[in-house]
Point group: C2
Chain length 290, copies 2
């Protein structure tokens, strides 16, 4: 357990990002605490981050800052693809990615493959967007292991968005070369994949290795950043990989305009800016000298 009672009568959640540093949040009401077949799911209220969901004691999302993560993981590939119709979401049982996907009128079908039905059930109960999103007729929820599911689809999806847990425990194979090869095969000819990777501050080595893997398999790959104050270091690295596209910097302005009233983080400027990496990270991602 990473929750400690540090003074009488107060309940705090403490996530150790590394053994000697982390974030603390004062917990209000504990709303749900369930042990599923795969993991421990906790959901609680906080004063500054609203409702927070943890899986195996790691923060997956908070109501206060989930928008920056979900918008960037979703709208960057959707506005780069010329006409995204079929979208696959891997993981993401909270429904945040799906909620953003179905904002796009071009999307005819959004399939979500989540291994843990209890995550979906808890989120439907406690996050206001989730029930509405899952009830959308364009959404198909598949409860299955994405590693198996991805092998059953070929040349079918315009986009695959990998909103996995971190590469410790069950999700580790979602960061491996065999899975990314299956994603490549599941994509149509101009398909794109995005995936969450790691903190550039704590995990730049892992980011470098995954970027190498993606470039081996795909036509091109890039890294972009978003702000997530409740994640380790407050900044998060997202990967993008393509079957044919070389340039990730030019979103579709016309389709952006139809969404812009609903967005709090994404805009075409921050899309471009998110690929402009600080020097320490550019060296790792692009294996440049110096």
């Amino acid at each position: 357990m990473t929750t400690d009672d540090v003074s009488p009568g107060e309940f705090w959640f403490y996530e150790k990002h590394v053994p000697t540093a982390g974030i603390m949040l004062k917990v209000g009401e504990l709303l749900a605490c369930r042990r599923s077949r795969y993991q421990t799911i906790q959901l609680f209220d906080t004063a500054d981050y609203g409702r927070v969901m943890t899986l195996d004691n790691l923060i997956m999302l908070t109501e206060r800052d989930e928008f920056s993560y979900h918008e960037m993981l979703t709208h960057v590939p959707l506005l780069l693809h010329p006409q995204p119709r079929q979208v696959l979401v891997v993981g993401g049982g909270d429904g945040g990615v799906l909620r953003e996907v179905i904002k796009h009128g071009t999307v005819e079908r959004a399939v979500q493959v989540e291994i843990d039905r209890e995550v979906v059930d808890v989120c439907r109960e406690f996050f206001p967007w989730a029930a509405e999103t899952y009830d959308n007729p364009r959404v198909e929820l598949v409860i299955d292991d994405a590693l198996k599911y991805i092998k059953t689809v070929r040349n079918e999806f315009d986009l695959v968005i990998v909103d996995s847990t971190d590469p410790v425990g069950p999700a580790i194979d979602l960061f491996g070369s065999p899975f990314y090869s299956d994603v490549y095969d599941a994509l149509t000819a101009d398909g794109l994949m995005t995936c969450q990777i790691d903190s550039p501050f704590y995990g730049s080595r892992r980011i470098g290795m995954i970027m190498d893997t993606l470039r081996d398999i795909f036509h091109d790959a890039g890294l972009y950043l978003t702000q997530v104050p409740s994640y380790p270091s407050g900044v998060w690295g997202l990967g993008i990989a393509s079957k044919s596209r070389k340039n990730f910097h030019e979103p579709d302005k016309v389709r952006y305009d139809t969404l812009s009233g609903t967005l709090r983080y994404y805009n075409p400027d921050v899309h471009r800016g998110s690929f402009l990496l600080p020097e320490y990270l550019r060296r790792v991602v692009y294996r440049t000298g110096k």
Copy 2:
């Protein structure tokens, strides 16, 4: 005190960013703990952030991530100005900004006005760069209140870099309209000022108010962001204001090339990208509708 002993035999530093959320760091050796005329100065070792200095229990810098803050506060204005020769640093007693300023061959004189000599003394003792920086013949250290000092200089500095503590307690007037007007008067005709402001996540209202103030006084002003994992939310807002310049996006490439081997965060791409703001922040900074 914000340091708590949360389990027997371990010493942790806990900074509350707001009353119900914050960062925790496991403390190794406590290196210095002094009470100056102005504030409490603490310096301690940590496993993940190296040496950390706090003033009145707020983290001012850590060895691990100070580079992103100091490089962006310094090189953005220095590479925008056509020929920076005279530079004034307000605050910044740790010497990190000065260390970056004197990398520029154009700089003939760098004046640092720091109110608290004890901060300089502690940093000279414990941060490897500080003594060397302060001993540079182009550096002048003035121990004085910057609010008074700034009134004594007119049309003298090409750049003013305000590396203050946060706007609580003694530094509050360094965020006010009278001080910024004095900075304006202290600058030469094509002068620029940069200043640290706040976390975009926790302090977007303050950022908006300061941007309004800067635009009232200066020809133009902008906000840009840098990563500082040890600061609240991990991302920090920096302000820039100019006496004549309108465009903050075009750094001097030739002078950049002479520095690039020494830089870990700054590059011309991240310079441009740091001004491309997420939507929630763009609305606050530029007072756009929606």
